[in-house]
Each structure stands twice: as C-alpha cells, then as structure tokens.
C-alpha cells in the first residue's frame, strides 16, 4: 500500500486534532500541579462533564452555544467545589493523600454522571455545519477547526493570564513556593481554587468541543485523563507551554503509530511515552528542572 502526500497530511491533521484535545487536558493537569504540586485524577471527569452536560443541555432544548457555555461554567464550578469541599479541608495531609482524594472525587463524579445521564453514549451536533475543507488534499471537518481554534485561544488566553495579569503573577508565585507567596501577600487559597476552576473549564471545553466528533458517555474520562497526563508529563509538568507542545507531540505520535503499526497499539503509545518519560526524563522533554514538590 502506498501513501500519497495527501494521506500523510491526513495523518498529521488527525494527530493535530487529537493533540489539541490532549493539550487542553495537559494544561488542566499542569495548572493544578503548578499551584498545588499534586496530580488531579479528576481532570478526566471534567472532560466527561463538559461533553455530557452540553449534550444534556441540548437534549433539554437549550441552544447549542448556551449549552456548551453552561457546561463549561458548571464544570468550572465543579472544579472549584472539588478544591473547596474535598481538598482544602485535607490540605495538611500532604501530597499523596490529596491525590487519593482526587481519585475519590473522580469516582463520585463519574458515578454521579451515570446516575444522572444513564449509561448510553450521547451525541452533540457540530458547532457549525458545512462540508470538510481540503488542505493540501487532506480533508478537515469544520468541527476539527473549532477544536484547533478553541485550543489555541485557550492557550493564548492562559498565557496572557499567566504572564501579564496580577492573578497570573500570583499563580506563578504559588508554583514556586506557597509560603513565600503568602508572605508577599498572595491569597494562596484563592489561587489554588482558581487553578482548579480553570482546570475544570479547560477539561470541559475539551470535552464539549470534541463531543460532536467523538460522541461522549459517562465513562470517557479516565482514558482521556491518562492521555492528558502523559502529554503534560511529556512537556514537563507545571510548564504551560510544555503542556501544549506535549499534547501535540502525543497526538502526532499516536497518529503515526496507527499509520505505521496498527490501531490496536495506539493507546500503548501514550502509555509507553508516559513510562519512558517518567523513568528517563521526569522533567519532560522541554523541562529544565523538576520542581521539588515531591
């Protein structure tokens, strides 16, 4: 079987589309990690909530745009609540206990979604109708454009927030040292809650924007969480730019694995990347140092 350049481009397009979703998820992981030093196992459930809430909104007759925005807003709130109700009261228990609390939260969110929405998969219409665009022979769905544009917009917005706003400064301060940040007057509790809220928003945005392409169900979170984490790790945990790069690299790697080997081992790519990076280069491919938060 021979592949034309259009086919190769098609693989790249597929890799970029998935990569954009992984990048959003990785950003969610990285934000929480930067401000708290923990890995949030509930990140995948934020993704699930984004898609499921938007689909439920549509089913209830709410217009698509409103449904999506409401789903993102509601998940932001869920993110804040996870932090406020489950993590903050146990803050003194330290890293691993907090990580396990996020596992408990993810069980509750996933199971809750099943009670609320049932076990069947749900569909969401594309944000804009239209024929696929041809780019150099590769065909790209309009929704895939939405995925890329929204992922980039989120990345840019986050960079602006992080680099040039007071809140971003506070967040960066927290990622270096909570105590030091508190000394210079940063409300660290608020920063942590905000990072969870933003992680919720990013996850939900990813879940809602990709649902028209992939459909969604109550149990899609864990898998996407694993991919997002692998991407975050690949780019260096705690580094937003790295998270975006890591997401796209992972998406392209997976797409390449299907092209060269077989679809069966696609998931194994993310896992092998995860293990190799963890063992050989825990600071990530871009990372310079590993924040001592262990």
């Amino acid at each position: 079987m021979s592949m034309s350049s259009a086919d190769v481009l098609q693989f790249v397009a597929s890799g970029l589309q998935n990569g954009a979703i992984y990048a959003l998820m990785a950003l969610g992981f990285t934000l929480v990690f930067a401000s708290t030093g923990i890995i949030n196992f509930a990140q995948g459930e934020f993704f699930m909530l984004g898609g499921m809430l938007a689909a439920a909104g549509m089913a209830a007759g709410v217009p698509l745009g409103v449904s999506v925005l409401a789903a993102v807003a509601a998940t932001t709130l869920v993110g804040c609540l996870v932090e406020r109700l489950a993590l903050r009261p146990a803050r003194s228990a330290g890293g691993l206990a907090l990580v396990i609390i996020t596992i408990g939260c993810s069980m509750l969110i996933k199971s809750g979604a099943r009670h609320l929405f049932g076990p069947d998969e749900r569909a969401l219409p594309a944000f804009t109708a239209g024929e696929p665009l041809s780019v150099g022979g590769a065909l790209i769905e309009p929704q895939a454009v939405w995925v890329l544009v929204l992922a980039l917009a989120a990345a840019v917005g986050l960079t602006v927030l992080y680099r040039w706003t007071k809140m971003g400064l506070a967040m960066r301060a927290c990622s270096i040292s909570h105590d030091a940040a508190r000394i210079v007057g940063v409300d660290t509790a608020r920063v942590v809650m905000l990072s969870f809220g933003l992680a919720g928003a990013l996850g939900a945005l990813a879940g809602a924007v990709v649902a028209p392409i992939t459909q969604t169900a109550y149990d899609v979170g864990a898998r996407m969480g694993l991919k997002g984490f692998a991407a975050a790790l690949l780019g260096g945990l705690g580094d937003p730019v790295g998270a975006i790069v890591g997401g796209f690299v992972l998406g392209l790697l997976e797409s390449g694995a299907v092209a060269v080997v077989s679809g069966t081992y696609k998931d194994a790519v993310a896992l092998v990347v995860l293990l190799v990076v963890l063992v050989l280069r825990p600071q990530g491919i871009l990372g310079r140092h590993l924040g001592e938060k262990l």
């Binding site: 034309s4 693989f11 589309q17 998935n18 076990p119 069947d120 992939t214 299907v258």
Partner: protein, 400 residues
C-alpha cells in the same frame, strides 16, 4: 466543628465495617433459599436472569431487563405457565465475568432457579459455564459471540444471530453488489475479534478480497488514521465489525475524509444511538440483522410479523421507546424458556427443562424462528437475516 467531623467520619467507617460484620453473620445464617411466601396459586417457577446493568454493556443490558420484565408481567397476568406464575430474579454482573460467575452461583444456590437467562456479554456468558455445568441448570445466552455455541455445551443455548451466520451473509451480499475489494475495520474487543476471524476465513469463499485490515480499541475516539490507511488502499467497500459507539465515528470519519465507498456492518450496529451519533454519515450504511427492526420483512401475514409487532407495540407503550435488537434477544431467550416450561409434564426440574429447550422446534420469536437440536444450540439460520440500509435516519430494507 472538626471534632464532630471526626466523629462522623469514624461513625461512617464503623458503619462500613458493621456492614462487613453483618454480612459475615448473614453468611452463617443464610442457608437454603428463602421459602416462597404462601400463595393460593401453584408454586412459582423461578428463572434467573444475569444482565449487565452497569459497566460497558449497560446500554445493552438495561433494554434486555426491560423486555423480560414486560414479558413476565404479560404472562403472569394471563395465569402464568400451566398455572405456575413466573418469578424472575435479576442479577447485575456489572459487565464483569467474575461477577457473572458469582451471580450464576447465587441464582443456583440461593434461589434454586430452573434456568438462567444470560449473560449480556460473551465473556460473561462463558464465565458462567462452570457453575451451570456443575448444577446442571440450562442457560440461554443473549450474547452474540460464536464461541458460546461453537464450544457446544449440552446446557448452553443462544438467541442472537452468531457471527458465523451473519458474516458470510454480509460478505455474500457485498459480492452480489460487485463490491469485491473490501477493507475491514474491526474493534479489538471480544465481538469484533470473533467477527474478524470469521471475515478473514470466509472472504475467499464469498469471492471477496480483503485489501486493508485495520483495528481500533473499544473507547477510541478518533478513527481518521485508520480510515486514511483504508482510503489509500482504494477498496470498493468498507466492512466494519463491532458492537459499540465507535461505529458512529467510523461512519462520520469516512464522510469527513471524502470516502464515498459503501459502508457495511453487522447486527451490533442496529442501534438508534449509531444513527444519532453518525448523523449524515449513517446515510446509506448497510448492515445485516434479524427482521425485528422492520417487521414487515417477515411478510405482514406471517406469525413472525404478528409476534414482532406485538412485542414492539407493548414495549413502546410501556417504556416510551421502541425496543432495540438486544431487547429482542432477551424477549426470545425468555420466550424459549417459557415455551419449554409449557411443554414439561409434571414438576419442572432443570434437567427436564434442558431437554425441553433442546426440543424447541419452529418457535417464532422476534429474532427468528428457533429450532434447536442436540448439535445446534443456536437454532437460527441465514434465512432469518435481512440487509438493512439507513435512509433519512431510519432503517429500511435494502434488498429482500
């Protein structure tokens, strides 16, 4: 505040432990099956049902449970079977084979059931085999894996059309349409693998050449890489074999990639969620399944048409949605057990029931007409299958 919080937490943990302790005590007490409450009627016939109400197959197991509940109520309202009301005991296997085995054990040991209907999935069905064999209780499975009746067990029967019947039917239909260069895409789950092996084996006999052979994992969310490889192989048609939500992604992905080749599939794709999920991409999709989706395929003057439409109407009236093929498989499984019970003279026992089920002959269900024999515990033939096409978001007959 936090002290009372601590107390609450402690209370919760203690409660959890108590649950364990009480369960332990219950273990000591729980001897035989609890005696049936005194009724004026004859003693009820007990049938156990193992379905997946949670986990991956919940979307299949829930309609199965509904279909059986519907039939149970209808039969009991009409005086039961030979004067015996039917008591159905449902167990959820959570799509877990180990839980399915435990559930079978529970139904046999604690409830003393005459037969077990189940499970929803192939692995769960196979996991129950040791229990069923030991107790000599007949089992009627609603799962489609060929392995269930290929590894023939005197006690185990099956209602869906297995892949070994459906796959050649679809391949021949493709060849008839002149679509001989076929690309296959199947999932790596049990049903997909089962089908894939048969596709590869049967393709030469049907005159079909496989020009691309791609796989994906259950739960995958993007098929474009696999489809790009298929597109490069320039097939006449694409055949997908799976039983999950990923089917919609394939149909949509083909449209997105500008692939105009016809897409074919199996009974696992006869779900409304597929049409909803794939949208435009589902248009023109052809798949083989029994006649329940469009009962007029039986011919409107046939017994089968009457049975199917009655089931569809009563199911729709009760649950506000039309039954899918999985509800149909459950209806048939229950029908087979009830029909066999009717033919038993004297007291029903699992052994008599097994023999009666094996003697099922010309029984008209919604999935087809069942005739079992000591060599054939599936009881369906290719003649029960039709080819459907999706048109304007609905199933229509493609050819007759």
């Amino acid at each position: 505040m936090s002290r009372s919080g601590a107390r609450w937490g402690a209370a919760l943990v203690v409660a959890a432990l108590l649950a364990g302790a009480v369960a332990g005590c219950g273990a000591k007490e729980g001897g035989g099956s609890d005696a049936g409450s005194g009724t004026t009627q004859k003693e009820p016939y007990r049938v156990g049902v193992v379905v997946s109400l949670t986990g991956t197959y919940a979307g299949l197991g829930i309609p199965e449970k509904k279909a059986i509940e519907l039939q149970r109520d209808a039969i009991n309202a009409n005086g039961g079977v030979n004067g015996h009301p039917i008591e159905v005991i449902f167990e959820d296997d959570a799509t877990d084979p180990a839980k399915a085995a435990a559930a079978a054990s529970k139904l046999i040991e604690q409830d003393g059931v005459l037969a077990i209907i189940g499970a929803t999935g192939t692995a769960q069905t196979m996991a129950m085999r040791a229990e069923v064999q030991r107790a000599g209780v007949p089992q009627v499975s609603m799962a489609g894996g060929s392995v269930i009746t290929d590894q023939l067990d005197p006690l185990v029967f099956q209602t869906p059309w297995p892949n070994r019947i459906v796959v050649p039917f679809v391949l021949k239909a493709m060849a008839r349409k002149g679509l001989t260069k076929v690309a296959v895409i199947s999932d790596s789950g049990g049903y997909g693998k089962d089908g894939h092996a048969i596709i590869v084996k049967e393709a030469p006999a049907a005159g079909v050449t496989i020009v691309a052979d791609e796989t994906f994992n259950p739960g995958d969310t993007d098929m474009s890489s696999q489809l790009t490889k298929i597109r490069a192989a320039k097939p006449d048609a694409v055949l997908m074999w799976n039983a999950g939500k990923e089917a919609a992604l394939i149909a949509k992905g083909m449209k997105q990639l500008g692939m105009t080749q016809p897409l074919f599939g199996g009974p696992g794709n006869g779900r409304k969620e597929f049409i909803q999920g794939a949208g435009d991409g589902a248009e023109g999709f052809r798949f083989a399944a029994g006649k329940i989706l469009v009962p007029s395929a039986y011919g409107t003057d046939t017994e089968a048409y009457k049975v199917a439409t009655e089931f569809i109407d009563s199911y729709t009236a009760k649950y506000g949605e039309s039954p899918d093929i999985f509800a149909g498989h459950a209806y048939d499984a229950f029908l087979i057990v009830v029909d066999a019970l009717k033919r038993i003279e004297g007291d029903a026992t699992p052994a008599k029931l097994r023999d009666a089920i094996e003697q099922t002959k010309g029984l008209v269900g919604v999935g087809g007409t069942f005739t079992y024999s000591p060599q054939d515990h599936n009881g369906l033939t290719e003649s029960e299958l039709v080819l459907y096409r999706v048109e304007n978001g609905a199933w229509v007959l493609d050819e007759q």
